[in-house]
């Protein structure tokens, strides 16, 4: 074993006010001066000639060792980190970098800028930006110590001549006369000098090239990338939690809802529509018996009826949950819209338009107004008291019950023609269109508002990307539809799945990215009209059927007689 020449193995990067807490037990920067690339190399235990690691020949050994060393320091194992540097002869960072880091932590600003210039491999602009950040810190520390003239001098003679971030000059000058404003400045806050210096160091590490200073936690970052890739490739991934590093990740189908866990029979007629609230704690369903039922989802997953809402005179075909989940809007064949309170079950307001009918409804993002489609093809906006606030005429909506609103609340989504979906920016009156080559029967919006699922006449379901430019992504089929309105939805962890009802009484589930059919679930004895996946529980799916029941699908087995069976694909 090689003799250690001096006690450098146990040296740490020194800090003027004691050991560094915070970011990691020691800044994972390395050890001062025990090895240098140009000095005598420590004899390596592995074969010295190998410059690459791994069978593909793409990994540089030096880089590999350096990121391992960085990981050891980040984890707090500085002794081992230092030992690795020594034994491999590959220092984590050059001496200049170590000096630089120490100078930053000690607040030796001018010296650190000088050192910065001495470090190789950096272009002009990075040096300037880094110098700016350092001198800005100096500036603020001087102001903190009430040394205004010195701060002004720094601004004038050091910062301004850099000619970068020029729009910062007026703000900085203002701070000299008005130091109280500093606490409102977004880049600084009330924190100790040391932690603010460490923050600066973090910023500088991001600014300087990775070859000069290894980015913090680089190894962890690479591992997370690999795991993400595995997760993306996993077609049945539907649970959160740790992923093992020891085996490649692959879920089984057992985490996707496939068993009937509950059958809800409280409706007296065909169940046409259902939707979970945003927080997943409630379910609202409507039936052709004109009634709407509010259900509560208990913590154990059991669903029980809370309110039966009567008021509509004809079947209700659409329900919209308010952004806060405290109210719902319902509309249907009687062409009025009603607003209900979830807690009490009371009808708070009825929306009607003279001589015309309201065919669809949706909430504005702030929950303070609602939008409705009207039989004359226009769209109206209403306040909570029932008064019409605005109206957009023209071919805005068709006789459909679907109205959506994008997650930023800026665009309304309606069907403006049989085969065209309109994204209407209601404030700017901008219009974007999605045109299909068949009649569209319904659509559904993903939770993040970036994807739109469009159901077509012949039964196909198309997926569109509506974030930015409109792009057709893919198609899902397998289920059947010929006469009825059958709805589909997004669901599962990160909306990785698509579910749909079907006229053949089954519920279909596809994996969104690969478009592969995962399950077709039997159990209902009538066409399945609508499905809704619990946004808060990726293992709970609800389906509404012409057989007057709602089925809750989940992972657990159910002992009752009318067990749902799954049909493997």
């Amino acid at each position: 074993m090689r003799v250690v020449e001096d006690g450098t193995l146990s040296k740490r990067v020194k800090v003027s006010s004691g050991k560094i807490g915070g970011l990691s037990d020691d800044t994972s920067v390395g050890e001062q001066g025990s090895c240098s690339l140009s000095g005598s190399m420590a004899p390596l235990l592995a074969s010295e000639d190998d410059k690459v690691v791994g069978s593909n020949g793409v990994i540089s050994k030096v880089e590999f060792v350096r990121i391992i060393t960085e990981a050891l320091y980040s984890l707090g194992y500085s002794k081992i980190g230092a030992h690795l540097e020594e034994e491999s002869g590959i220092p984590l960072h050059s001496n200049l970098v170590l000096t630089f880091v120490q100078q930053i932590l000690d607040g030796q600003w001018d010296e650190s800028v000088t050192t910065l210039h001495q470090i190789d491999l950096m272009d002009e602009n990075i040096i300037k930006l880094a110098s700016f950040a350092i001198l800005e810190q100096k500036f603020f520390e001087l102001l903190d110590g009430e040394e205004e003239m010195d701060a002004l001098k720094t601004l004038r003679t050091q910062i301004i001549p850099l000619r970068v971030n020029c729009d910062r000059a007026p703000e900085l000058s203002y701070f000299i006369v008005c130091p109280s404003q500093i606490s409102l400045d977004k880049t600084h806050s009330q924190e100790s000098r040391l932690s603010s210096r460490k923050k600066l160091l973090g910023e500088l590490r991001k600014l300087l090239p990775p070859t000069v200073i290894i980015p913090e936690n680089r190894l962890v970052c690479l591992v997370e990338q690999a795991l993400d890739l595995q997760k993306d490739n996993c077609r049945f991934h539907n649970s959160v939690g740790e992923m093992s590093l020891l085996v490649d990740h692959q879920c089984g189908k057992d985490k996707i809802p496939y068993q009937t866990v509950q059958i809800l029979k409280e409706h007296y007629g065909e169940v046409w529509f259902l939707k979970f609230s945003h927080n997943g704690r409630y379910l609202a369903s409507s039936s052709c018996d004109s009634r709407v039922i509010i259900w509560v989802v208990n913590v154990d997953g059991h669903v029980i009826m809370r309110h039966r809402l009567t008021g509509h005179r004809q079947p209700v075909s659409y329900i919209s949950w308010s952004p806060e989940d405290d109210q719902i809007l319902t509309c249907g064949d009687d062409k009025t819209v009603r607003r209900w309170d979830i807690d009490s079950g009371e009808c708070l307001c009825v929306y009607e338009k003279q001589n015309l009918g309201l065919v669809s409804c949706g909430w504005a993002a702030d929950g303070k107004s609602i939008f409705t489609g009207v039989t004359d093809k226009s769209i109206s906006m209403w306040d909570l008291k029932g008064k019409e606030v605005e109206s957009w005429k023209g071919q805005r909506t068709h006789c459909m019950a679907d109205l959506g609103i994008t997650s930023d609340g800026k665009e309304l989504i309606t069907l403006c023609k049989e085969n065209v979906v309109l994204l209407f920016g209601w404030e700017t009156e901008s219009e974007r269109f999605i045109e299909e080559n068949q009649t569209i029967t319904s659509f559904a919006l993903s939770e993040d508002g970036k994807l739109l699922l469009v159901s077509l006449w012949d039964g196909d379901i198309h997926l569109w990307d509506i974030d930015g430019c409109m792009e057709w992504i893919g198609e899902y089929n397998g289920h059947t539809r010929s006469r009825l309105l059958v709805r589909s939805c997004f669901g599962g962890l990160e909306q990785a799945f698509i579910a749909s009802g079907s006229e053949n009484s089954k519920v279909y589930i596809w994996h969104r990215a690969s478009m592969e059919l995962v399950f077709s679930l039997s159990g209902h004895s009538g066409a399945v009209n609508c499905v809704s996946w619990n946004p808060a529980n990726p293992h709970m799916l609800a389906s509404a059927s012409d057989d007057h029941t709602i089925r809750i699908w989940g992972l657990k087995r159910v002992n009752s007689k009318s067990n749902g069976t799954l049909e493997k694909v």
């Binding site: 003239m149 004038r156 000059a169 007026p170 000058s173 006369v177 008005c178």
Partner: protein, 215 residues
């Protein structure tokens, strides 16, 4: 500009109206001596107190124009008390003029102190913050004339402030803040614009005072 349209001949302009227009111009711009001779030549009636006011206004205007904002402020407070409290924007402009003076004469410490005492109070209102930042930025440069805010040091800026001050004082003393002459030219220009917008290419060219004077 077209040659005199025939309609011009049909409009009679009253001589005394013209005198009034010239008078209002002279009063607005404090041309005291010219005013006196004009009045005596034309035999118009001119109330006496206008003369004293004009003298004071003239001095205030010139103080502001020269950048001597402290004197301008002093005299304004004396002549029209409460004016600056009512016109915060104007007050700010005048104070910053003083600040600029201090910066130009490289009295950095004084400028800093002045700013801290007098200007930072304005910073409580958001609309002044951006302006304050621009003025303070002058401190950041060794040669403020070469900074991006150099226009704040220019005589154009001072003139603009001086004219605003003049208008505010006139308004305060219940006199019109725009001279009749200025208004007439503005009126003609706008009327011409409207006409040419309505008639399109067939309409008249926009009103140009320069061309009018040459014709």
């Amino acid at each position: 500009m077209d040659a005199d349209p025939p309609q011009f001949g049909n409009i009679d302009v009253n001589e005394s109206d013209i005198h009034t227009i010239v008078l209002s111009y002279l009063v607005h711009n404090c041309f005291k001596d010219t005013l006196e001779s004009f009045v005596s030549c034309t035999g118009m009636k001119q109330p006496v107190d206008h003369m004293q006011d004009m003298e004071k206004r003239k001095r205030i205007y010139h103080f502001a124009l020269d950048g001597n904002a402290s004197k301008a402020i002093e005299m304004t407070e004396e002549f029209a008390p409460g004016l600056l409290e009512e016109n915060k924007d104007l007050h700010f402009d005048l104070l910053s003029l003083h600040f600029v003076e201090l910066v130009s004469s490289h009295k950095t410490q004084e400028a800093l102190l002045f700013a801290q005492c007098q200007l930072t109070d304005f910073g409580k209102e958001q609309k002044y913050v951006k302006k304050l930042e621009d003025f303070m930025a002058l401190l950041a440069y060794d040669e403020p004339e070469k900074s991006p805010m150099f226009h704040l040091l220019s005589s154009d800026h001072r003139q603009h402030v001086a004219e605003s001050l003049n208008r505010a004082i006139l308004a305060h003393t219940k006199l019109p803040s725009y001279s009749a002459m200025e208004r007439l030219i503005q009126q003609t220009t706008v009327v011409r614009q409207c006409l040419s917008q309505e008639l399109g290419k067939d309409g008249h060219k926009p009103f140009s005072l320069k061309d009018f004077l040459k014709s």
